[in-house]
Every structure is written in C-alpha cells, then in structure tokens.
C-alpha cells in the first residue's frame, strides 16, 4: 500500500443517503478475477445512459470536478453487500478520500484495506463542503493532522482510529504486521485446542 500524503484536490459532491454497494458496483462486474480496472463499472446506472453514453446529469461526469480525488458522500455510504469490488472501483476512478457523515461497517473496512482514507464529519460539515466544491474549488485532507481544510481556510477536525491512521500514513502491509504476532497466535491455538478440542478435529 502507498503511504497516504496530504491531498489537495477538487471533490465530487454526491449527496445521496444510503448508497448501497450494488449501486457502487453492480453484480455484473463481480465476475472479475482481478482487483484492477473496475472503475468502468462504478456507479454504472448513474454515470451512463441506457445507450452506454455518459449521463450529463451525473455529478461524476461534470467537467467542473474532473480529476477529483475526493468523494463527498451522503450518510451510510456503502451499505449492503460486502463486495470489495466497490472500493476497488472507487479507487480505480481516482478517488483517494471519501468524506461522509457515516459509513457502513464492511465498506469502511474495505476502503481502508485499499488505502482509501475514510473521513467521518458531522452531516452539516459534509453539506458545507458539498456547497464549497460546487464550482470546482479544491479542499485539502491532512490525515497526519486529522483535518479537512475548506477553500476559505476554515478547518474541520476529524477522529481516526490510531491503528488505521498509522497503517495508512506508513503504507503498511497489514498481513505482514499480523504475521509478526505468530508467537501469540501459536499460543492462542494451543490453549484453545486444549479447552475446545472439538474445534481442532478431535472426534
């Protein structure tokens, strides 16, 4: 995973509540064997018209937001299915940060695993940012300082889980971190196999 650096970018204001992962990545794209190239399927029903051409009414096709690396979303973004393809697709579209009032649990975790920073701010602040960026203005996200800076220089602070923040800032390989705990893991299995032997193949 690439270490996360402070990002200053345009942002797409995507103001819908309860956007589920079926909307983010329809099931027709789940047949892929790869993590790559899924941006084309992301938000398909919203981004494209029936004939396959870009939908001019979609925020994602608005030229004012071209090159945006920040997605401003409505509350409960990513509810429903656990498909990580939703996070892969958003990443492939070029987004590195999602800011919302709340995230569905599994989607939140999936974003983290792919180096996408998920910022939780009060709904009113998210709505203020959506207003800010409407004409293509840039905002900044600093994970080190845990701040979002508005175009008027005002700063919103956010909380972040220390473990995830550390991993994102340093681009750490989470499996590698866990494998360093092999000793504790061996000990856990030894004790559990004595206490609950039927979970270890004892008949």
């Amino acid at each position: 995973m690439e270490p996360f650096k402070t990002i200053t970018s345009k942002a797409v204001p995507f103001n819908r509540r309860n956007v589920d992962t079926d909307i983010i990545m329809p099931s027709e794209f789940l047949k892929s064997l790869s993590r790559e190239g899924l941006g084309v399927g992301a938000f398909k029903a919203l981004r494209y018209l029936e004939d396959g051409s870009p939908n001019p009414d979609s925020e994602f096709n608005n030229p004012a937001y071209e090159g945006a690396q920040i997605l401003l979303a409505g509350p409960n973004i990513g509810c429903g299915s656990s498909r990580e393809h939703a996070a892969w697709g958003i990443k492939d579209m070029g987004f590195k940060v999602i800011i919302a009032a709340s995230f569905a649990d599994i989607f939140y975790s999936n974003c983290f695993k792919n180096g996408i920073v998920t910022v939780i701010l009060p709904e009113a602040q998210v709505e203020a940012l959506m207003e800010d960026v409407k004409e293509g203005a840039e905002i900044s996200v600093d994970l080190e300082a845990q701040t979002v800076q508005r175009p008027n220089q005002e700063v919103f602070h956010f909380d972040y889980e220390p473990f995830k923040r550390h991993a994102l800032l340093n681009g750490l390989d989470e499996i590698g971190i866990t494998l360093q705990k092999a000793g504790a893991l061996d000990e856990f299995e030894k004790q559990q196999s004595q206490k609950l032997p039927w979970l270890y193949g004892a008949a």
Binding site: S27, S32, C79, G80, D105, I106, P162, E174, I175, A184
Partner: protein, 478 residues
C-alpha cells in the same frame, strides 16, 4: 465482582490474540467459509506475497453465487462464471482446503450449508466474504461478512484486525399473529430502526417472539441484521440450538458433545449486562409485511397503501421516496394489494431452508400460478434441503401449481447467474435486498416471506397470505 458482559463481549474476549492499542485488536477466527466470487483476488494476493493458508482445515469452500440452477449436467455457459467456479476448485486443491463441488448433494448457499454441516457452532467466530454471514449468529456464533482483503488476511493468519463493535439490544415484544414469520419480524425491526440503525453495532435479539422461532426462523432473522446496518446479529443458544446441531456431520461427537453443550450453555448475556443502544419492537397485531421501495426499511403492511413522499419528515428521505416510487413505477396512495407482479422468487440465504419450502408449498398446494406471472422460481438453499423437500413431495406441489423447481444457489437474489428479473419487471421475492438493479438492471423488487411470495404468485399481484387458507391434500382412494 467482574463486570457483567453481553454475549458479544464474551465471544470477543475469548478470541483476543493480541489486544493491540485497545481499540483495534487481533481476533482469532475459528471458521472461514469461502465461495467463488469474493476469493479469486485473495488467492492472487497470497500467491504474489508467497504466503500459505495457515489452517486449511478451518476453511471450507462451496460455489453458490453464480452457479446455474438448471442443466447442471452441462458446462456453465457464462465463461466468466465458469472461470470463477473452476478457480475456486483449483485453488482449494492447491492450498489443501475442502471444496464441495457444484454437483455434490451438500452443495448450496454458504449460509445454508454452514449450519447444515455443523460448521456453525455457538460461541465461535465465523467469517465469509459475504455480508449475509450475519445469518450464523442464530446459533450464538459471532459471524460477519468481510471483504476480499480480509479473506486474504484470514486465510494467511486465521485472524482479523478488528475494531470492537458497540452492542445493541433489540427486544421484540407482543405475540405475532398468524403468518407473521421471522421475515416479517426482521422487516418490522428494520422499518423501526432504519438501515443504519445498527451501524457500528452487533445486535442481540431478545424476547419470546425470538426464542419462539425455530432455528430456520432465527437464521432468517439474523441474516437481515446487516440490512439494519449491523455487521452481526446474535441469538443466545438454547435447547433448540443444541437439538438442531446434534448429529450434524461436523458437530462435536460423543464425549465432546457433552463438553460442548456445557460450554455452549454459558453463552448468554449476563442479566445485568448493559448495551450501548436499545430498541423495543412490538409485533402484536401487525399484518404480514412487504417492501414498497428500494431500501429494506421501506416497509408497508400488506393491508396498507403505498406511502406519499411528503409523509416523511426528513427532506432527503422525501427525495429518496420519490426516486424509489419512480424506479418501482408506483403511485403514492395506491393499495399495496393492487401491485401486479411479473415474477416470483422463493429462495436466497434468507428464505431457502426446508421450513421456507414447506410454508410456500402449503399455500401453493391445490392452486395455480396466475397467468400474468412469467416465471415463479423455487430455489432450495442446498442439495440436502432439495432432497428433503422431494422426500416430502413439495417439489410436486410446486410444479403442479406451475412453479419451477430448481437446483440450489443464490440465483435471482443478485442476478449473477442466468436467473434474473428483466428491466421494469416486478418480482415478489423472499430475498433480502430491494436495491436498485439488485435482481437485474432496472428490476423491481418487493421483499416478503415465502408464504407471501407464494400467495403473490397465485394471485398475480401482492396478496395477503391470510386470504389463501391451505387447501387440504386430496386423499387417494383406498
């Protein structure tokens, strides 16, 4: 005195490998079920990093999401689906993981076969790359869906780095009326607390209406805890749980059975344990429920009308309701029972167990699917459910009534195989999600119980199952 704990806290504490910073801990995972759709990239990641599967015997694989539900003797037509199914088998052989083949009688939906094989047990941690893993909480297991990176992490380490969830108590009060099933109860709960009501929480269900449910009903209930935003649902194990598990292939046997029962009997929230959030839902006197919108919280009684967007207090909810009615092609104020359907689907990890088959068959027996219904599918959750239903003659009841009796899999719930709802077609479905495009592009979904879906198929429109009393079987002449 040690502080009182909830069931969730007890299971969590028993699985901490490393407490970490106190917020994010390394948690041991006892059982891991995998399927063909959310694992290819995990295996690819293992290979690239040169890592092994830590405990292959704690993992079991079965294809379910995009397997066909008919013509199983022929190769899978869709090359991408075929590639995923083939890759699962190949990777399982490479890493020494048991794999249940598509044509094995034990094959079925991950959340049906886990309990059926006795893999799911009280007090264990169980994960699967599928959000409906919440289902297994019906046995008092801490079970939740994970993404593919977590699948890879769990294969490599048999653990996950997890942030401890908050706890939520949902107490269901009141005596359910006739035909008020587990599906109706969970829809009532989701309508009450909303699709994000359980976000960040693990829900434990309480109340006589919950303990009164069969294991199949409890699975239906916990299955849709995710639709209330909760990553997991829990019901404390009891005699019904033990009875269900006894003699299941992978359940503890002999002397271990008694030890396991003694351990399982301790798995309940302490009487004075406190929860971070509490909701009370009254199910007395509510009619069977259906959804009218594109979120599982959009619930209406079958005796009711389609709501008006202006009825909602919140402007963004009003906007969502307007979009939902437009998508579903419905008029505000119309009678729910005037909504005509094109298809019916009885199946999915929510409602494809033997009890669901029986409930639908009781309504279908002696009746015919309405002529305006293009297709009414019955898809059992596993080969074993299918065989049991056939022993009971349920397949004949369905086919005589004009339903199609299929092979097990996820099928029309998420339109990954050939079973799907066409654009602007409307489906009475026993699945779990009425999301935009879920059952196919532009498909329109109404969620309900199996008996209600059978009644809708017979009527040709959404219908009140209570108006379709069972017709007794015709007695053969002596």
């Amino acid at each position: 005195m040690p502080h009182a704990k909830t069931l969730y806290e007890k299971i969590w504490d028993a699985h901490v490998v490393d407490p970490g910073d106190g917020e994010t801990s390394l948690i041991y995972i006892d059982r891991h079920i995998i399927h063909e759709v959310t694992t290819p990239q995990a295996f690819e990641g293992l290979k690239l990093a040169g890592r092994k599967v830590r405990r292959p015997e704690a993992v079991i694989a079965v294809p379910d999401h995009n397997v066909p539900t008919k013509d199983r003797d022929k190769p899978i037509e869709d090359p991408q689906s075929a590639a995923q199914v083939a890759m699962l088998k190949e990777k399982c052989a490479e890493y020494g993981i048991e794999h249940i083949e598509m044509n094995d009688i034990r094959q079925g939906i991950v959340h049906v076969i886990g309990p059926e094989q006795g893999i799911t047990q009280p007090g264990i941690t169980l994960v699967c790359g599928d959000s409906h893993t919440a289902t297994h909480g019906a046995f008092g297991a801490l079970a939740f869906g994970i993404g593919t990176s977590e699948v890879e992490h769990c294969l490599a380490t048999q653990t996950l780095q997890l942030k401890k969830s908050k706890t939520m108590k949902v107490e269901v009060v009141g005596e359910p009326g006739p035909w008020l099933t587990a599906k109706d109860i969970i829809l009532a709960i989701i309508a009450h607390i909303g699709t994000s009501g359980g976000t960040g929480h693990v829900i434990e269900f309480f109340g006589p209406a919950i303990t009164g449910l069969t294991m199949e009903g409890r699975m239906t209930l916990c299955n849709m805890a995710i639709e209330a935003g909760a990553r997991a649902g829990l019901i404390a194990p009891d005699e019904k749980t033990f009875e269900y598990l006894q003699d299941k292939p992978r359940a503890p046997q002999g002397v271990h059975w008694n030890a396991a029962m003694a351990h399982w009997s301790t798995l309940k929230s302490d009487p004075d344990a406190t929860f971070d959030k509490v909701a009370v839902v009254d199910v007395a006197d509510i009619p069977p429920l259906v959804t009218w919108g594109t979120s599982p919280e959009d619930v209406a009684p079958i005796t009711g009308t389609v709501p008006h967007p202006d009825d909602f207090a919140n402007p963004s909810k009003q906007d969502a309701a307007r979009k939902a009615l437009d998508y579903l092609g419905l008029e505000a104020g119309m009678n729910i029972q005037d909504i005509k359907i094109d298809r019916a689907f009885i199946g999915s990890c929510t409602n494809s167990r033997i009890e669901d088959m029986r409930a639908a068959a009781v309504i279908a027996r002696g009746r015919k699917v309405a002529p305006n219904v293009i297709e009414a599918l019955v898809v059992p959750g596993s080969g074993l459910v299918k065989a049991q239903a056939e022993r009971e003659g349920l397949d004949k009841i369905f086919t005589e009534a004009g339903f199609e009796w299929r092979e097990p899999g996820c099928s029309m719930c998420l339109a990954m195989n050939a079973d799907r709802v066409g654009p602007k077609e409307r489906c009475a479905s026993t699945s779990n999600r009425n999301f935009v495009g879920r059952q196919g592009p532009d498909a329109r979904t109404h969620l309900m119980s199996p008996a209600m879906a059978a009644a809708a198929a017979i009527a040709g429109h959404l219908a009140d199952v209570r108006d379709y009393p069972p017709i007794p079987p015709v007695q053969e002449a002596a």
